[in-house]
């Protein structure tokens, strides 16, 4: 059993919010520099060079990589042997996002309600994903997910007869459609699962 305080969670989330908004992950940074050496078009080369320059400048200056701090997704892997004290997990995470965005001069992009809402100013509420794992540690990952990533997400269902061809068509078409609006670099995530599992998870009792 290990005791972790809500305050520790808040501190970690606040730090991660600032880091995630100012420091491009190493693998993405490397991919950009490699792409720059391989790009043929002058506009593409310029774009990739500026993306690398932007990453360097943001890391060095602390100015956010992008004005859009996104929807803050917080992934928590919580060891079963952890005892959380002095507060609730949800509140501790939201407090961390609030502090991280305010102290880091990050733009709040969340509204307090969907229709006629106002900007909450501190990017709360964040979305929490929690998973119980073995051990006595808490692993926290923060991902600021920009609107450009959300807006171009697409979902489709295929019949067996449509096969891989249809899936490939759909994926390529989605990328081409996303290209102009989503900001580079595009990192394409593809999830495929049998419809029955999707159904039973989404519509309990109807699967």
């Amino acid at each position: 059993m290990r005791t972790i305080t809500a305050h520790q969670i808040t501190e970690a989330v606040a730090t991660l919010c600032q880091r995630a908004n100012t420091c491009l992950p190493d693998d993405v940074y490397r991919a950009l520099t490699v792409a720059h050496t391989q790009e043929a078009s002058p506009v593409g080369q310029t774009t990739l060079q500026l993306l690398v320059d932007n990453a360097d400048y943001a890391r060095h200056s602390g100015v956010a990589l992008c004005q859009d701090g996104g929807v803050t997704l917080v992934f928590l892997e919580i060891g079963q042997a952890v005892h959380l004290v002095d507060g609730l997990l949800e509140g501790a995470v939201q407090a961390g996002v609030r502090r991280g965005y305010q102290d880091g001069y990050l733009r709040g992009s969340m509204l307090d309600r969907p229709f006629g809402g106002h900007n909450t100013g501190d990017n709360t509420p964040a979305i929490l994903y929690t998973r119980l794992v073995a051990g006595d540690q808490v692993t926290i990952t923060v991902m600021p997910k920009g609107g450009g990533a959300e807006n171009t997400s697409r979902l489709a269902m295929f019949t067996p007869a449509q096969g891989m061809e249809a899936i490939r068509d759909f994926v390529l078409d989605t990328i081409v459609k996303a290209g102009p609006a989503s900001c580079p670099p595009l990192i394409v995530g593809i999830g495929v699962r049998p419809a029955r599992i999707l159904h039973s998870k989404s519509w309990k009792g109807n699967g």
Binding site: S41, P42, V43, T46, T47, L50, L51, D53, N54, Y57, A58, S61, G62, V63, A64, L65, C66, Q67, D68, G69, Y105, L106, R107, G108, N119, G121, G147, G148, N151, E165, R168, D169, L172, V176, G179, P180, A181, S182, C183, P184, P185
Partner: protein, 190 residues
Amino acid sequence: MSDAIAITCPLTDPSVLLSLRAGTMVRVSGTLLTARDAAHARLHQLAQDGCPLPVSFHNQALYYTGPAPAPPGFIIGAVGPTTASRMDPYTPALLAKGLKVMIGKGERSAAVISAMVQHQAIYLGAIGGIGALLSQTVQHARVVAFEDLGPEAMYELVVKDFPTVVLIDTIGEMYYRKGQVPYRTRLPPL
């Protein structure tokens, strides 16, 4: 961007836009107005009510952005483009009021493109994902309208060498179409 064409906004002679074809890199200096969804809705409402607009759009450039707050010692925070198509319903009316240059990202509607051709305006693409770097091109920033909208207020930005590429030109040609053509053939056969 060393081989980019330089323009200064507001334009003293809008005919300079006629030679800027889709795909041309353009460095913008001078004054940019900013507005996003909420500011466009306010402008639309003012026009509907027959009220004067808070700024003149004559020969102006409008940048679709909602900047991040300025950290201490900085003029402005990250200030990259937002998706322009959300502003499409309001855009033809602003083009009719003399707006000549729009800066954003993503596609535009057929109605906007036809109004651009009619009014000889261009749409420039700023690179999404370089908001920090773009903040360095800003020499001065002040709110000119709708301050209560926070990051969605209308700002006036004085910029130097703001990097863009022509996405849609005065004859309605689209760089997103033109630029995809040579690459489409390289996609694997389906």
